[in-house]
Symmetry: D2
Subunit: 320 residues, 4 copies
């Protein structure tokens, strides 16, 4: 019986100078802990692409300020993701860069009172001057939102409609919002009012004394459900947790249609009971993740694991 | 110079049988690490009540299934909280209990495939039979939502309006939703579509072939901002992180009106860069938390710290 | 079948002003997550005392600087612990206070370069002036160690022998080392050279040009094994992880004698694979923890949970 | 002033199929959070090699069972590490493999009662049949230890002496213990009694009725201090925390000789106050890490980060 559960020996990672990311991941394939899980994530991602699954990406945490946006753009372009569910903040920071703003490498142990005096906003070890929100986000966005309000007057919009409209009005090939527009990848932002986009909807309404576009919650669910429910196979890649994780999982719960492939990369933990850190096993009990699903949860920093995951899958796919 | 920063010695905790929670917290007052921080949280909470601050509660994580709802109800009744920002899930589970359902003590290491077969949904070590969602939530809620749709036809609602309407139609003195209704404490649920309430809005619209109430995002922001912006002093108690934390903080950012008192209890960590685990120091750089604010972040389990925090504050206040 | 696993409903915590710690823990008894686990820990600790188990305490992390020492002293006096396995550091800080030194409440976000200039050593948010190590530790300890070297010349000592000898030569009723000496509770410090006590053994040998006492590793194991192996029932309370956790567990592994009761309070997590954060379930596979053991792992801050645990058990025991 | 702290923009990671690990790390160089820190670690490691620093490796957590041993062997061979401080467990598992044993890929959610019945010991998601401890560790080690006892009779040994003696008596080019012996890299194991090596010292003494070699703690400190104290520049690479981190840092504290370069990879966190998760900033206050040291703490899974770190440094060095 021992033989049955002990048939695949751990094979120590062997390094060589100049090895590719894909080669490194292959070396991790027969190891334990995080390395083994990351290698498994690569295998699962490759599999969900190969099997033609509908791939949803949950996108939480300040991934854009940290420098992860071009990876998402690459995933969109290569059709490695079909639907995005994001926090508002990531979209805000993507747009801020699209309008000419930038984020800066700062330090994690900054003197925040001093930063406050300098009007620099800190996101762990990334800095953004507060005036950039005004110049590179509020100003261009106010006119875009007003344009959208004029064009859509009378019609309510889902958050995905809004993101698509915005995507059509900006020019930045490195922008997630723009790339998603071009490749018809919808971006759902279920808590859009919990971001500067929401704030501007409110500000625009006040400023232009115009009825703001109504962001319709039920319309959004309708669109999201329509996009997902008929897919033969579904895969989810969850970066962080939060609303995107729950939103992606609840469609499976609603339609009794568990995901076939799931990867989550997070640093949250299960014991405090929140969904963000809940195990994928737990999601099996709810029927959100299939009993026989290919699934893995990598407990490690997303900004480290996402580049490896995507680079390795790109390498494997382009080799085929 | 040493004297200046070393003037308050750590005083070891001294226990005695039968001591009150407040006495225990007093013993923790001169200690380090989590104990010192929890004692500080009690001091800050007492202070924000005494100073007449407007108190906002951010409420994330599966606090209701874990058994924390009566603490929130007590806080509402005793006017220890004035505005609630919650995930949808906590409201769903509060309503499920209000309609006669229950949660059960399970185990954290359950066999989730077996639970799936039994149709029992797991939330870490809490179980809920899936049929309860049907019998104790969907059915009563569908007719309540339809009633609301009929009553409000033509008017869009904020999530807080919706929660208030629901609160007016249920009977359960231990329910957060009901108590909030009775005591006029608004409950904002910024990602309401990311919950079974959202799902039912969608289902009700389909079932009754009726226009669902429009949940209006900008209206919600309007109400939230109106409720907060004129307060002389503001305090925030953040349980967990997620949308409630960001939503509570962004009003301070929008109006350049940093919180005067902030307590966060969380197990998330700052290094991965997400807002949930971000330090309160970081929030100072954004002007969300005041430079001179009374603030503390307790890195510990909320279900342990919240009861201590509230019990100790109740003890202190009732002593006055 | 649902009935079978769903028979104990979560009962929400109900608070009242002036409730005792024991009453609060009773309220936590029917809850989930950390609160339910902490209540379970109280139940298990009470049970191991009542059943007359040999109780081992693993003591890691800077518990003494944080202000936890009098709780340990209380546990010793009340015979709530029979054997201690500790890091060297906790013993160093206990002795430093016994010799007249102190720790101070500092801040967790101090400017460490400034502290370095001021010669203040930081332990998260606790400060200790570096001169205290000289005046309140090195000086008195050098002469004590030399005295011990003279008295024990020719005999090798285990770390527990050394701690007992030291305990006999100091006077401080609030000291763990002294109380353990008085109540014949052995303190094993398996990595004693990894602490200032080790450093002083080395310094004393150099200073007095005298052969230092030989701290004999095998002798220590002998004593530890003798103290544990014949106990009818064994219980372990693990604060943090590290060497004390492994050391306490390996005796069970060696003698195929799994612990009957285990409580661990820690913030470490299992996924990185280290023993400190390993689940108690994992220890079952090794035969370190019994299949039918009463066991619980509380994932929360020790400085918060330990006072509650011990206060509640003291309250329950004194009620009997 | 904004300009001064905002002069280095975050540059989003750009991927291409087949890129090398070193190229990926270069892309991470201008990012935030974990990715930026990992890139910084590569830079620091390269720098400490280039500057001829004495490099100490702290090695905790079950790194060998997870498959990390050949990376350490490679570091030894390429003179990328000069002194190792390890937990006993890692050495035990290295030897177990050297004597013909193996570890197996298991699962993190195994049924531990079943494993116990099958006598399979679990280390998170790695399995090891318990009989391997007997056949591939205890038996060969008992005779080796007895041989050492005979050869060294009358002399006490440090843990490093013992590891060197063992290294000289085994044959396995992939073994850390053997490679360290061949390349004269001392391995200090400060809590050697807290491992199966310690257990065997005890068992051997009983079995052969022979005085076991005395593992002398002060001798160990002497050797360790001699090896470190005269180095012009010192660098530390800490994997995990525990005794190895403290032991490596205390020599800097003892000799007022702060490390010039420090990298720590860990998932522990600072708030509970233990040294394992303490920030490197905190170590500056103690004079363990230099005020101007090149230092970085990567909060992420070691089994993922170590391979990237070493592969990238190997690539950079071999390019020179």
């Amino acid at each position: 019986m021992v033989l049955e559960v002990c048939k695949r020996p751990v094979k120590p990672v062997s390094l060589k100078p100049g090895m590719t990311v894909g080669e490194l991941v292959s070396e991790m394939g027969d190891t334990g802990f995080g390395a083994g899980r990351l290698a498994r994530a690569v295998e699962i991602y490759e599999r969900m692409i190969k099997d033609g699954a509908l791939i949803l990406l949950g996108f939480a945490g300040a991934m854009v300020p940290a420098g992860m946006k071009k990876i998402i753009v690459e995933m969109i372009r290569r059709k490695m993701v079909h639907i995005i569910v994001s926090t508002g903040a990531n979209m805000v920071h993507d747009l801020l860069e699209a309008f000419g703003g930038a984020h800066y490498k700062g330090v994690g142990t900054a003197d925040d009172r001093q930063l406050y005096k300098w009007q620099i906003d800190r996101i762990f070890d990334v800095f953004v001057p507060e005036e950039y929100f005004k110049g590179y986000f509020d100003n261009p966005m106010l006119s875009i939102l007003d344009e959208i309000a004029r064009e859509t007057r009378g019609t309510s919009l889902s958050s995905a409609d809004l993101m698509r409209e915005i995507g059509g009005k900006i020019n930045d090939e490195n922008s997630i919002v723009r790339s998603a527009f071009e490749h018809k990848v919808p971006i759902f932002v279920p808590a859009i009012q919990d971001s500067c986009i929401g704030l501007l909807l409110w500000e625009a309404a006040a400023k232009y004394n115009r009825t703001p576009p109504i962001i319709d919650v039920v319309k959004e669910l309708n669109q999201f459900f329509s996009a997902v429910k008929d897919a033969e196979k579904t895969g989810a890649i969850i970066l962080g947790g939060g609303v995107p994780k729950n939103y992606i999982f609840q469609v499976a719960f609603e339609f009794k249609k568990p995901y076939n492939y799931v990867i989550q990369i997070t640093m949250d933990r299960p014991e405090p009971g929140g969904l963000s850190g809940a195990t994928l096993e737990e999601a099996v009990s709810w029927g959100k993740v299939g009993e026989e699903a290919w699934k893995v949860q990598v407990i490690s920093d997303t900004t480290i694991c996402l580049p490896i995951l995507v680079a390795a899958v790109m390498e494997r796919i382009s080799e085929r």
